[in-house]
């Protein structure tokens, strides 16, 4: 161990602050002695400003989020002015994040492009390319031939050049069905005898099939952001998009936390969760210290999977039976505990409040023992 790192090891300061001390010392051209003095001084301030053992950081964090939540708007707002995409924001979005829903009501992605594609022409091209296009967008009219059990799909004449390709894609997608194209009309039929109801189902299935683009991306907008050309999408499909060559994978972003957890892992999901919370609060003009958000984000992810804040998530998986019974679904938890012969060890807050005991937090965390002098 070198001398320098030895010293760093000795101080209790977080790494970031030590870096800051180094930076300032260099700037002010401090010598070794002065630097040490500075470190000592900073350490003193740090200790005075640090959390004390027993501090109920959880409660403080919860209050710090929910107190400003009362001032949030319920409404959904438009995004990015002229583009006019509607994105859920404010309190509904905050609740959604804490619920850890599988899919947000308005999933959206922000896509940055690699250097060589970072211009208007390319970005618009890509935006067009990734937007999902369903067959119904190419169709002029559809009719059912009930005697022969055939769905007749007539394509719009302006896509004439693409007729061949569309048919190919459909053939690949629906290997079970027979596809026949005569100029602009595609006949879809099945070999077996089927009911008309089934035919209707086939019609719907074929019309809704995606011809090109990436599934779930329902809309895209390109706009300029300083040096960058950015694509905002409605709908999110992180896994597929990230594989597109032109996209700068390192900067692109989605608000679908579960997608991130699946593709990049829990740590990435954690930081997306954090930046989502941050942007919701920021957009509403509310100030909440980042430290509180990190705690909430950590408890939502520390088990290795995203857990909701609520009865099916963090609060429902607490160790104490009485705490869970006191939160929601009282009887369910009591019955379950009785079957397993479980015990409640009274380590948490609610259990102790229930039986009028001091809570093991803050000044209730320790006991005092008086040493009586020998008589």
């Amino acid at each position: 161990m070198s001398q320098k790192s030895q010293k760093e090891y000795e101080t209790i300061l977080p790494e970031e602050m030590i870096r800051e001390i180094d930076r300032v010392s260099k700037l002010k051209k401090f010598d070794e002695k002065k630097r040490e003095k500075l470190t000592k001084e900073v350490q003193k301030v740090y200790l005075n400003s640090a959390f004390e053992p027993g501090e109920a950081v959880g409660i403080i964090a919860a209050q710090s989020i929910s107190e400003p939540a009362t001032q949030m708007t319920m409404r959904t707002y438009h995004f990015a002015g002229s583009a006019g995409m509607q994105i859920t924001l404010g309190l509904p979005r905050l609740i959604e994040v804490f619920d850890a829903r599988k899919e947000p009501t308005t999933p959206t992605m922000t896509i940055y492009l690699k250097k060589e594609f970072n211009d208007q022409k390319n970005s618009e091209k890509i935006a067009k390319k990734i937007k999902e296009k369903r067959l119904k967008g190419f169709v002029e009219s559809v009719s059912l031939d009930l005697t022969n059990k055939v769905v007749k799909i007539k394509l719009k004449p302006e896509y004439e050049k693409k007729f061949e390709k569309i048919t190919e894609i459909l053939k690949l997608k629906f290997k079970k069905y027979k596809m026949m194209r005569r100029h602009s009309v595609i006949d879809v039929s099945v070999e077996d005898d089927i009911e008309i109801k089934e035919l209707q189902r086939i019609k719907k299935k074929v019309l809704e099939s995606i011809i090109s683009g990436i599934p779930k991306i329902t809309n895209t907008v390109v706009f300029n952001e300083g040096k960058d050309w950015v694509i905002r999408t409605l709908g999110s499909n992180f896994e597929k998009l990230v594989k597109i060559e032109e996209i700068d994978f390192y900067r692109s972003y989605t608000n679908n936390i579960h997608e991130v957890a699946e593709t990049l892992g829990i740590e990435a999901a954690r930081s997306v969760l954090l930046s989502e919370l941050n942007s919701i609060l920021e957009q509403q003009g509310l100030e909440v210290d980042k430290r509180h958000l990190t705690l909430i984000v950590d408890i939502m992810t520390f088990e290795g999977a995203i857990e909701a804040v609520g009865r099916y998530g963090v609060a429902g998986s607490k160790a104490s039976i009485l705490t869970r019974a006191g939160f929601e679904e009282t009887v369910k938890h009591l019955v379950r505990a009785s079957v397993r012969n479980e015990a409640d060890n009274f380590n948490g807050l609610f259990e102790n409040i229930m039986v009028n005991q001091q809570i093991p937090v803050g000044t209730g965390m320790f006991d005092l023992i008086v040493r009586m002098e020998d008589e």
């Binding site: 977080p14 970031e16 602050m17 800051e20 930076r23 010392s25 700037l27 001084e41 740090y46 005075n48 640090a50 959390f51 053992p53 027993g54 501090e55 950081v57 959880g58 409660i59 403080i60 919860a62 209050q63 989020i65 929910s66 939540a69 949030m72 708007t73 438009h78 583009a83 006019g84 309190l91 804490f98 100030e287 909440v288 210290d289 509180h292 705690l295 408890i299 609520g310 009865r311 963090v314 160790a319 104490s320 009485l322 006191g326 009887v331 009591l334 019955v335 079957v339 397993r340 015990a343 409640d344 060890n345 009274f346 380590n347 948490g348 807050l349 039986v355 005991q357 937090v361 000044t363």
Partner: protein, 825 residues
């Protein structure tokens, strides 16, 4: 100290052992009105009537917590809460030999993997590996019926099967110390009467508890079933009665089973049975166990009093005389307490004396001398609240910890709690009828903690955003802004008068006249230098002198006050408290001396402004008309992924958003410096936009973020043409509140306001539940002695709290400023 509670299922044997009475009679009382032995109000089960003694333990009401009895059920019944579980077990068990339907190899495999009944269900065989019996399909018909193949499995049969399961198989199934046959009830514990007290109405009639009613039903059907069996009644009658017994026991346990009609009282009211007692917001858990009522507290209306310090609370005399604090007598304080007792009935005195033998004596005019004479060391005197006692003051909803703070008592006349207006932001209080609560801590530990931890002085900095939450608001800021502006000149006499109004220590320099900035600077520490940007100008403080700029909400205000933030950090909470107290009093004094009022004339705009605004509105109207025309001609270009109609709507909306800003900037530039403008500029109340909306232009009204579209078919009023999308018909208000609105405009404005009201009431519900959930998830996280954040089962959530270990209520925004510390070296 309770340190463990174990949950389990009661065995019939234990129920019998703890039972003090066998219950088998359906009547509760005899003709004389005395409880019948063997009835449900059996005197051995405990007592509820004062004056009587318990037949079992001899205790009186309060001492005797009651005793359980028991009821032998003629035929066993399923416990509804366990029915699903019983089904899950039955499916895994052989119908003839009662072993788990899994051979040894399978068992081994299961024991290695995840142990859940769900996994096991996928492994089991249809043919028993032990006895070769082919299994029949078991079905569960909610709530309590089981069928096997086509035959019904009776509760007795179910119980029999469960009884025969071997202990080692139970361990495999995940049961410990619990026999599954106990999920089928054969012996019903009868709860003590203290748990279901009857009340005597004024008419002398007795009204029984819901549980008693339900138990009577059970006892009666149970008896009838027994009689019928003994008489050898036909099977179908016995089956019917058995089912009825099952129904009654099921609803006794839970009266909200889906698919089962709830048991009702004679009056038709649905009975509240065991599950209902525990469940939900008004259940035992959330209502009684997690929410407790307390003594030594008071509640009344609040009113402002700027003469009180931040950490004081004005307590009405009548409350101070009621609330007490216990004092243990010793040889040092016995004389003082004696004096207090003799002072009766005037405040301050002692209300009660607790003798060492536990007897409690109320002090009266008659016995005060006698009690004062007989005082002994070790007695406890409950003395009345006095000036300087530490209490906890609270306003609901208590959304953050600053909603409960420690304050010193100041006993005052009249009937309201008084608090300094600086305390309004943390409590979110105003004086339009708000009430607040006061709690007097009883133990010395609690009193010390109130003073050292909850103290309002220590709560100046909010942990939410690391800024001051106690700070100037409204009038304070208007006054300060006026004072530190450039207009006010004060003579030395007045300065002395104003300063000595709150502070006797400050030296006032020999000078004939002072300007406002100089007066303000008197209170600043002499080594303070600070520079920050306010709304309109830059505020510069050099060596304790306010050199430039006026102090507004960004300087001294709660939430944003930069100066306040700096003072609190550099000179400590106590200094910040004192400074705030002094400066706000000065500010209010300035307002009273120099006057401050607003009038409708403050909103008068010059004809030039009016002309400009009119032009802007006209221009926008023309533009919109042109756009609509273009649209009708099909000339409008659609935004990608939108229809042309949507695109038109969007561009109109964007244009309307701009018009209000344009008008605001016109008004802002030319409006005279009236009081109302001063209020907006200083940040005391309102904004420039509010002024513009009142004076000249409200702008576009919206519902759900869209221009108004609700009303008639394709139009908002029948006075417009169908499909009209012009500004006027879609809720654009071209007037300000002062000028008055046209009838259409008025209605649109009302729509917008109503939406705001609905939004607000919905929001409180949602955010309230969000808070409950967050607390539920995070409540037992705390910083341990090793510096990590852990939950109650000691799992580490964070290695360093908040990633850098800093407490946001102890730092300025952004953390520790190393460069600033370096400057000092």
């Amino acid at each position: 100290m309770i340190d463990k509670v174990v949950f389990g299922v009661l065995d019939p044997e234990i129920i019998r052992k703890m039972s003090v009475a066998k219950i088998n009679k359906t009547d509760l009382y005899d003709q004389e009105g005395y409880p019948i032995e063997g009835g449900l109000m059996d005197p051995r089960l405990g007592i509820i009537d004062p004056g009587l003694r318990c037949r079992t333990c001899g205790g009186s009401t309060g001492d005797c917590k009651g005793h359980f009895g028991h009821l032998d059920l003629t035929r066993p019944v399923i416990n509804v809460n366990y029915a699903k579980l019983i089904y899950n077990i039955l499916k895994l068990i052989c119908r003839s030999c009662d072993r788990i339907l899994l051979d040894e190899a399978g068992l081994e495999k299961f024991n290695k993997g995840r142990k859940s009944l769900k996994v096991l269900r996928n492994l089991i065989k249809t043919k028993c590996p032990y006895c070769g019996e082919r299994q029949k399909k078991i079905k569960f018909i909610k709530p309590t019926t089981f069928t096997e193949g086509s035959a019904i499995l009776s509760a007795a049969e179910v119980r029999e099967r469960l009884e025969k399961i071997k202990t080692e198989d139970l361990t495999t199934l995940g049961f410990k110390e619990v026999r599954p046959e106990n999920f089928v009830i054969s012996l019903l514990p009868v709860p003590p009467v203290t748990m279901r007290p009857s009340i005597t109405l004024e008419t002398g009639e007795r009204s029984e508890d819901d549980l008693t009613h339900k138990l009577v039903d059970i006892v009666r059907i149970n008896k009838r079933l027994k009689e019928n069996i003994d008489l050898g009644a036909p099977e179908f009658i016995i089956q019917d009665l058995w089912e009825l017994l099952q129904y009654h026991v099921a609803t006794y346990i839970n009266n909200e089973i889906s698919g089962v009609p709830p048991a009702r009282h004679r009056s038709g009211r649905i009975l509240k049975t065991l599950t209902q007692r525990l469940k939900g917001k008004d259940g035992r858990f959330r209502h009684n166990l997690l929410g407790k009522r307390v003594n030594y507290s008071a509640r009344t209306v609040i009113s402002p009093d700027t003469m009180l310090d931040i950490d004081e609370v004005g307590v009405p005399l009548s409350i101070a005389q009621e609330i007490t604090i216990p004092v243990v007598l010793n040889d040092k304080n016995i004389g003082h307490i004696k004096k207090l007792i003799l002072n009766y009935p005037s405040w301050p005195t002692v209300n009660y004396i607790l003798r060492s033998d536990g007897a409690k004596k109320k002090i009266t005019e008659m016995n005060k001398e006698e009690i004062a004479e007989k005082l002994e060391v070790g007695y406890i005197a409950e003395r009345q609240l006095q000036d300087g006692d530490w209490t906890i003051f609270n306003r609901q909803p208590t959304l953050h910890r600053m909603g409960m703070m420690g304050h010193r008592v100041r006993v005052l006349p009249y009937k309201t709690f008084r608090l300094n207006t600086l305390n309004c932001p943390p409590y979110n209080a105003d004086f339009d009828g708000d009430e607040m609560n006061l709690h007097a801590p009883q133990t010395i530990e609690a009193q010390v903690e109130t003073k050292l931890l909850a103290n309002a002085t220590l709560q100046i900095r909010s942990p939410r955003f690391s800024g001051p939450i106690i700070g100037a608001t409204k009038d304070h800021i208007a006054g300060l802004f006026l004072l530190t502006g450039n207009k006010i000149k004060i003579s030395r006499e007045d300065v002395v008068d104003i300063v000595r109004f709150c502070n006797f220590e400050i030296e006032i320099p020999e000078k004939k006249t002072f300007n406002g900035k100089e007066l303000f600077s008197l209170f600043l520490p002499k080594d303070l230098s600070l520079e920050y940007k306010d709304k309109s100008d830059t505020v510069v403080i050099k060596n304790g002198n306010l050199v430039a700029g006026s102090i507004g909400s960004k300087g001294m205000g709660a939430f944003k006050g930069k100066l306040l933030d700096e003072l609190d950090k550099q000179y400590g909470h106590s200094f910040a408290k004192r400074f705030m107290f002094d400066i706000t009093r000065i500010s209010l004094e300035v307002l009273t001396r120099y006057g401050f009022s607003i009038s409708i004339a403050d909103l008068d705009l010059s004809p030039e402004i009016d002309k400009k605004v009119r032009e802007v509105i006209k221009k926008t109207e023309r533009n919109v008309d042109k756009m609509i025309e273009d649209f009708n001609k099909g000339k409008i270009k659609a935004i990608i992924g939108r229809t042309t109609r949507d695109s038109l709507e969007l561009s109109i909306k964007n244009m309307l958003a701009d018009i209000l800003n344009e008008v605001t900037s016109i008004v802002k530039k030319d409006i005279p410096e009236t009081s109302i403008v001063l209020m907006a500029k200083s940040g005391a109340r309102g904004s420039i936009i509010n002024i513009v909306q009142a004076a000249r232009l409200i702008g576009q009204e919206t519902v759900k973020g869209e221009r108004i579209y609700i009303g008639y078919h394709n139009r908002t009023f029948s006075h417009f043409k169908k499909g009209d999308i012009s500004l006027e018909s879609k809720g654009f208000v071209t007037n300000g509140y002062k000028q008055g609105l046209s009838p259409f405009e008025f209605f649109f404005d009302a729509m917008n306001s109503r939406e705001g009201l609905m939004d607000k009431s919905l929001k409180t519900r949602h955010s309230g539940y969000l808070e409950r959930r967050l607390i539920g998830a995070l409540k037992d996280l705390k910083v341990e002695y090793d510096g990590t954040v852990r939950d109650s089962s000691k799992k580490i959530i964070q290695f360093i709290p908040g990633e850098d270990g800093l407490d946001p209520s102890k730092i300025q925004k952004g953390g520790i400023n190393v460069a600033k510390i370096a400057e000092r070296i």
